[in-house]
């Protein structure tokens, strides 16, 4: 039995190892400073990079955070502080359902309500779509982290004359902040690589654009386009793009771990 579970545990990380190794082999060759600083070149011209897509992805993550964090953290705080109410139970269930929603459905939905009415694709629509995907993740992590704050701390604040809202924000939320930051970073890492919602909302852009109301380039989309093209040099750029994307996610996860560890180290006396 131990052998079986041990084998299963080893198999669990095989996909990541294989993917990373293959990406390294295929993508590292095209990875250079140019990849981060240069614009895409037309077919046939060698060189060029994906600077617009990297910046575009960062902008999209910014918009998504602006949408997802306030709503997610606020909702999580409510779920934890009003546990057992009908609204809290309903919201918790629906957040779990939303969490399981296929991302392409989110994309179609965003297209219907954020793209069609305005007549054009935009960075805002895409950011909102992946921001909505962040909401259930952030909500549930925030709820769990707030629940770990001991009740005695709330009582101490109330007994000192803190109103309930200040107790929630200044004592409870602040105490749980380390864990919430970790959850937020995990959520960012999750949505950073989303492609399906972006296909319907930001479209992608061959040119440099940071306008929020215009189509914008994004790494997952650029990878999709380049990998589907018939050109050999675009294929290798797609590999490099995939490598950069996975490294971004890896770095975010590492930051999340460091933050978590710092919190635990500081929490003990």
């Amino acid at each position: 039995m131990v052998t079986l579970t041990c084998v299963a545990a080893a198999l669990a990380v095989v996909p990541l190892v294989v993917i990373l190794a293959y990406l390294m082999k295929q993508g590292a060759g095209s990875l250079s400073l140019d990849f981060f600083t240069r614009m895409p070149r037309p077919v046939g011209e060698p060189g060029g990079g994906m600077s617009n897509a990297i910046v575009g992805t960062l902008i999209l993550i910014g918009i998504a955070s602006a949408v997802g964090l306030p709503v997610g953290i606020g909702a999580g705080l409510y779920l934890a502080e009003h546990r057992g109410t009908r609204l809290a139970n309903g919201v918790r269930f629906l957040a779990d359902v939303l969490n399981g929603l296929p991302s392409i459905v989110m994309g179609i939905f965003a297209w219907q309500f954020l793209v069609r009415p305005f007549g054009h694709f935009s960075a805002l629509a895409g950011g909102a779509a992946i921001g909505a995907m962040m909401i259930p993740l952030v909500t549930r992590t925030t709820e769990e982290m707030v629940l770990t704050v001991p009740q005695s701390l709330r009582e101490a604040a109330l007994a000192l004359g803190y109103p309930r809202w200040r107790t929630s924000l200044q004592i409870v939320l602040r105490t749980a902040l380390g864990g919430i930051v970790t959850g937020v970073l995990v959520a960012v890492a999750r949505v950073a690589g989303e492609t399906a919602p972006l296909l319907f909302t930001v479209l992608g852009n061959e040119f440099w654009s940071t306008s929020l109301t215009q189509p914008i380039a994004a790494l997952p989309l650029q990878i999709f386009t380049y990998a589907n093209s018939p050109y050999e040099e675009w294929h290798s750029l797609a590999w490099a793009g995939a490598l950069v994307l996975i490294l971004m996610v890896l770095i975010i996860s590492l930051i999340a771990r460091v933050v978590t560890r710092a919190r635990h180290a500081g929490g003990h006396d």
Partner: protein, 277 residues
Amino acid sequence: MTDAGERGTGVTLREPAPTTEHGLPPAMRVVGLHAYFGSNHAVRDVSLDFPTHEVTAIIGPSGCGKSTLLRCLNRMHEAIPIARVEGKVFFHDADIYAGGVDPIALRRHVGMVFQRPTPFPTMSIRDNVAAGLRIMPGKKPSRAAVDEIVERALREAALWDEVKDRLKASATMISGGQQQRLCIARALATAPHVLLLDEPTASLDPISTQKVEELVYELRKTMTVIIVTHNMQQAARVSDRTVFMLAGEMIETAPTRVMFTTPSDERTEAYITGRFG
């Protein structure tokens, strides 16, 4: 119920106590108080006075309602969703359960320290002590003024010498006994009229316990202290008056020396002599 108290006032206190002859009205007065947790009737028809500038100890076996009674005095009882209170509690002649009374404002005047130390872990030692000041209504005190109040509160809590060189350190970096005195300093910083202590030494070592007891003894010069304790020696050491509770009812209240030498109720005597509880 207050008969026993009037009989002994001013006669039975041990030290030359400057506060006994003040003739002030009681700081707090409980009249016909009932407290419930759902269907559990935790405090049953309690009426008593808490004299100003005295230390009143509430003793009794576990589950007798002494902590619940204490929590009714700053309206913390109602912070629990299924809790309910009936009756009147007067703080300086005003019924704190009357309509229009803001429990938040009340709690700034009636401070509380809990059984386990509850420093705010995200704040420094200094900011913990200043926590109550930051939410006071009106103009924000200057940095220098806050520093002054923090030092005074820490000195009153007998903690200043131990932490004065690391006021910016996290409050979780000091020992449990120091944390508890920090919580007392935090409660003192807003200069409350009444301080409620809910078994403040239950989780402390003997030396820390002694420090807290000495502190309580000093505090009655400036405020009214009500302390819940399961430790009868502690009640005898620190308090001017003692209240004995059993199964939600107040059995007896008397000056501490009277209570511990000649209790008038046989149940009090049985408890004090260790026959139950």
